[in-house]
Amino acid sequence: MSKDILVIGGGIAGMQSSLDLADMGIKVHLVEKLPSIGGKMAQLDKTFPTNDCAI
């Protein structure tokens, strides 16, 4: 049995679940296909409806 978790994809969803788990004290392995994490959200300039910066 293993307590570790694997997360596939480092976009906003993958990052959020990884951080939640890591904060619970669980060891997380986050696999991302591209050279950097961030996914589509990192490409966005601002987010609706508050016009907050995406990065």
Partner: protein
């Protein structure tokens, strides 16, 4: 994003892919391929000196091909990890040419052309799939003429044009105008080179090229081979300079895009492609129109759609505010076609269903609100991990357990499950984390039981 890079409980395996998954909930054996970056991760400081010196320019995927990056690159400026990567398809050295400039430039000695892929094995209790989505390719809809008309762009391309860190530094320069500017730059480079050669000849014969060329054409230097070469060079120089001047004159009239059209449901709610509603595109278009108007207050936007679906906290208010304060007009109707008018302006022909009229309007730029399509690699990934897909190729779930896949111990969140916006993705991600944690803590309990 920064937290992900430095959390002590989080091992970030960027530039990697899952190759094999075996086992069951509580005990999965996972094989991950760490693709070679040709850069030592523990040495690279991310300073970017290599990228500055690299002679190869490649279209930048992060900027949707609207800008260029070098063959050694960081995916985007604030990217985590900041380790640079060599693109093996474009690197001169890796394609058998003599180069290696990056290796000479790198003070940390991080470049390693001999580096190979590494395979690592992980033992995990649960898996969360957050593989995301792809942007629907609008060139599949012939009447929108995406790629044929330069000033018809996708919403994500427009996003990069709006971004201060994007290829235009936030100016809404039109792609057709940018192409002309790139052509001017290329011609100027050529003209400079040929002018240099002419300068040498002018010095040799002690006469300006233009004056000489007039005499040469009048037949004064017949039979003089050296002067014939000079004349040929000058003629080819004129062939560069004349179109260059024309383009420069044209470029003087360029302004940023001020009349914008947004077309909704490009690929979604369309039985030829995806019958579902992608959910976020209406708000995305409104947001882009609001930001565009913030950049240049005289900007006007027209949003064409069947209906505007502003379902979410604060969304309807945002839509109304956009109409009142940001020069946005909402037109109900579908687009028949987009054609190219004078000045590279796209012309939109549509049925205004409120007025019951077919109308045509010219814009500076058209933005296509593209559908949320399942990501291309999802079929392979689903097979590797061992989960089922639904009829559209999103990961299959049921309405009462929206983050559980068909295999116990494997969960899904974000647009890999279905189209959703950022707040929904975040909520679902926390939910999937919770489900995965149940398994993690169960295995811990069982370990304790075994000890007891």
């Amino acid at each position: 994003m920064l937290d992900v890079g430095r959390h002590p409980n989080l091992e970030l395996l960027a530039y990697s892919e899952v190759e094999k998954v075996e086992g069951e909930a509580g005990n999965f054996k996972v094989t991950v391929r760490r693709k070679t970056r040709y850069v030592e991760e523990d040495r690279c400081t991310g300073c970017g000196a290599c990228a500055e010196k690299c002679p190869t320019a490649v279209p930048d995927a992060f900027n949707e091909g609207l800008g260029a990056r070098s063959a050694i690159y960081s995916y985007f400026a604030q990217g985590i990890p900041s380790t640079h990567t060599i693109d093996p398809d474009h690197c001169r050295q890796l394609n058998g040419k003599k180069c290696g400039i990056c290796a000479k430039t790198c003070q940390a000695e991080a470049i390693n052309f001999e580096q190979e892929d590494r395979i690592i094995e992980l033992n995990v209790g649960a898996i969360i799939i957050a593989a995301g989505y792809d942007i629907f390719d609008p060139s599949l809809i012939p009447e929108y003429r995406y790629r044929e008309i330069a000033n018809v762009v996708t919403a994500i391309e427009f996003e990069r044009l709006l971004s201060a860190s994007g290829p235009t530094e936030g100016h809404m320069d039109r792609p057709s105008d940018r192409a002309v500017l790139a052509e001017i730059a290329a011609l100027e480079k050529k003209a400079k080179k040929s002018q240099k050669a002419l300068d040498k000849l002018e010095k040799k014969f002690d006469e300006p090229s233009a004056a000489f060329y007039g005499k040469y054409q009048a037949g004064e230097y017949e039979g003089d081979e050296d002067r014939k070469k000079w004349a040929d060079k000058y003629a080819s120089h004129l062939k560069i300079v004349e179109p260059l001047e024309e383009l420069k004159k044209k470029a003087k009239r360029f302004t940023v895009a001020k009349r914008l059209a947004f077309i909704q449901c490009v690929g979604s709610r369309d039985f030829r492609f995806y019958p579902f509603c992608s959910g976020y595109c209406c708000m995305h278009s409104i947001k882009e129109a609001v930001i565009a108007q913030e950049h240049a207050p005289e900007t006007t936007s027209t949003i064409f759609g069947m209906d505007i679906r502003a379902i979410g906290k604060g969304f309807e208010e945002y839509k109304i505010r956009g109409g009142n304060n940001s020069n946005i007009t909402y037109v109900r109707g579908r687009i028949a076609e987009i054609t190219e008018g004078p000045n590279n302006n796209p012309v939109v022909t549509y049925e205004n269903t409120r007025e019951r009229k077919v109308e045509s309007r010219e814009f500076d730029m058209v933005v296509l609100a593209t559908a949320c399509a399942p990501t291309k690699g999802i079929g392979t990934l689903a097979k590797t991990v061992g989960v089922e897909l639904d009829k559209y190729n999103f990961i299959k779930t049921s309405s009462l357990s929206p983050v559980d896949t068909t295999t116990p111990g494997i969960f899904v969140c974000g647009c890999a499950e279905s189209p959703m916006d950022v707040p929904e993705s975040v909520a679902q991600a926390s939910s999937a984390a919770q489900r995965a944690a149940e398994i993690a803590f169960q295995s811990e309990l069982e370990k304790e039981k075994a000890v007891a």
